[in-house]
Symmetry: C2
Subunit: 357 residues, 2 copies
């Protein structure tokens, strides 16, 4: 088994903690380690560092090497330009193919999600690997929807395709892109729909074949990468190939078009930690519904989320706020506006405050 | 004329900027200078520094000397223990009597109020001094009420007692302590009531006589102070006398009981800067009603008051908040709770955070 950790994100919704050079996956928001490090360590009981690849932006190379010093240098794959998930997966699959791992199971994981049930997660991956010894589908992990979320994609599971280690693998009948609220409610009520987690397992050879089939613009670049791997020309060929790749997601570019796409329902204590508001799910609120650091004083304050930076923060008579303190900036935001935080860096840049973005 | 600036306050409602050693009157909240310095400079065109006394707490001695380096050392009168306004005025009057100024006009002013109309203020004081050459009342400056405020005392003006330089001096018919909301509305509607400003003018000899008459507990201490002034025993006698003084306000202890109390209606652009909420009256709000420092980014935010400390503050989708940034602490408070900020230092002390109080 090989794992690919997708660490190319920016995570501007975690401003002022997230910055261009310190994206969400490098922040220790959800524990004492960064989400990237937690993701890697979650895999370690299954895999040596040599079989973990990380795909990231050039601007984050140094920070990621510091965060994961055990990762072999050749396993940090740097995107010359930001694309979407299909090119990043193509890059990783090309490297694995060139290393002779075409028949291996390839696990693809976002670097910036939280999974509470680590052991269950590894058991699921082991079952997926076992399944791939007998079958050759594109596997996606599906999460039982917890609410009519409009920010995620949904997957409708169809007939049972296989059972391995007591787990059911279903054929996927249909993908649904981010739905409107009414549709989301209907999907949750239906009972057959799962959230699309962005976690995939497949054989290296199978995803390469599907990328070639459904994204013809990737073919020449894939051949170039496989040939150039391990040669002196690698960096130059990577630049050439990657610049020519279309910016498209793996879901839209491959999963929604391919045959033999299967889903395995999983229960992993998952959160995509999508915004500061999600801290209310990850940490234990106090009796007044406040999620605040030790030493924070709350007086007649309810439902607030505070991320401190060492200073004493006092909340008096306020409700449903997000307060995030950083060394050089402070955010005060209504909880319902947590998604809009992602716009702040661009607004600051327009005010000439690039140093804060 | 002699002036006494009452600088004994604590001003905890301006936490986290105000601290035990840095009370409200020493903060530059309302301009580039502290309110204490503004109060002294407002008097300077009328009076030399030698005729300005400042009464303050022992803990503020050093900070006040740094803020008013021109003030003669002997003119900073330090209260051995915190009392109320009657003892502070008694101390100043005793010093002036001992200095041979018994017949002078004595102006008493709070150190932590804002007056926008400096020249008019000095003209009022000049008229009061002129009046005191002919008459011997206790004079108080009365402000036209701007709203049915429940936090102030009110004065009902009676018949005209004198006119000087075109200004009307009325006998006071009645003092009203802080009223309930219904009473406050009735007082404002009545038209004859003025706000009690805490600014007084009287002859030194007259206030000493009234203090002796209405506060017999002060008599022995007053005699002690007048005798000890200028001697080596001053500090010890001050401690003895002051410790025995009752803690009582000049309004309750003298003004409400004395005969011949007059009021002169004045229009001075006054504010007592009672809480962070009052910054909305002192500074120009932007189109969305926000009072924020330069460089603060507001996005769909209305009616907020922000006091910065150099860091960039971003408000997103929030309304009617007070946000005060300080080096070691941060306050986020609803505007309607501005008065309750005064409770924060005591709450922090109970949490063992004395260093923040």
């Amino acid at each position: 088994m090989q794992a690919v950790v997708m660490a190319g994100g920016v995570g501007t919704r975690f401003w002022p903690r997230s910055r261009r050079r310190r994206p969400k996956q490098l922040l220790a928001i959800t524990g004492t380690a960064s989400m990237l490090r937690q993701t890697a360590e979650r895999l370690r009981p299954l895999l040596p560092w040599e079989r973990i690849l990380v795909v990231a932006q050039a601007g984050h190379r140094q920070a990621i090497r510091e965060e994961l010093p055990e990762l072999p240098e050749a396993n940090l794959l740097v995107e010359p330009v930001g694309r979407n998930t299909a090119p990043a997966i193509a890059l990783a699959a090309a490297v694995l193919q060139a290393r002779g791992a075409a028949a291996d199971a390839m696990v693809v994981l976002p670097a910036d999600h939280v999974l509470r049930r680590d052991a269950e997660f590894r058991a699921v991956l082991a079952a997926c690997a076992r399944l791939l010894q007998q079958h050759d589908p594109l596997l996606t992990l599906g999460l039982a929807p917890q609410r009519p979320e409009t920010g995620y994609g949904y997957i409708r599971r169809g007939e049972l395709a296989a059972q391995v280690e007591g787990r059911d693998f279903h054929r996927v009948e249909r993908f649904v892109e981010k739905p409107d609220p009414d549709t989301a409610r209907a999907l949750v009520a239906d009972g057959r729909y799962l959230w699309n987690s962005g976690m995939f397992v497949w054989r290296v050879s199978r995803i390469l074949a599907e990328l070639r089939r459904h994204l013809p613009d990737l073919r020449a670049g894939l051949d170039l990468l496989i040939q150039a791997h391990g040669t002196r020309g690698w960096e130059a060929q990577l630049n050439t190939a990657y610049s020519g790749f279309p910016s498209i997601s793996i879901d839209y570019g491959v999963m929604e078009k391919a045959a033999e796409v299967w889903v395995v329902p999983v229960d992993l204590g998952w959160s995509d930690v999508g915004s500061w508001a999600s801290l209310a799910e990850l940490r234990q609120p106090d009796a007044a519904g406040n999620v605040v650091p030790a030493g924070c004083l709350t007086v007649e304050a309810r439902g607030n989320i505070v991320e401190g930076h060492g200073r004493t923060i006092v909340l008096l008579g306020v409700s449903d706020l997000i307060v995030v303190d950083a060394e050089d900036a402070l955010l005060v935001c209504h909880r319902e506006r947590a998604q809009q935080v992602g716009e702040i860096p661009a607004r600051l840049a327009r005010l000439g405050k690039e140093s804060l973005t």
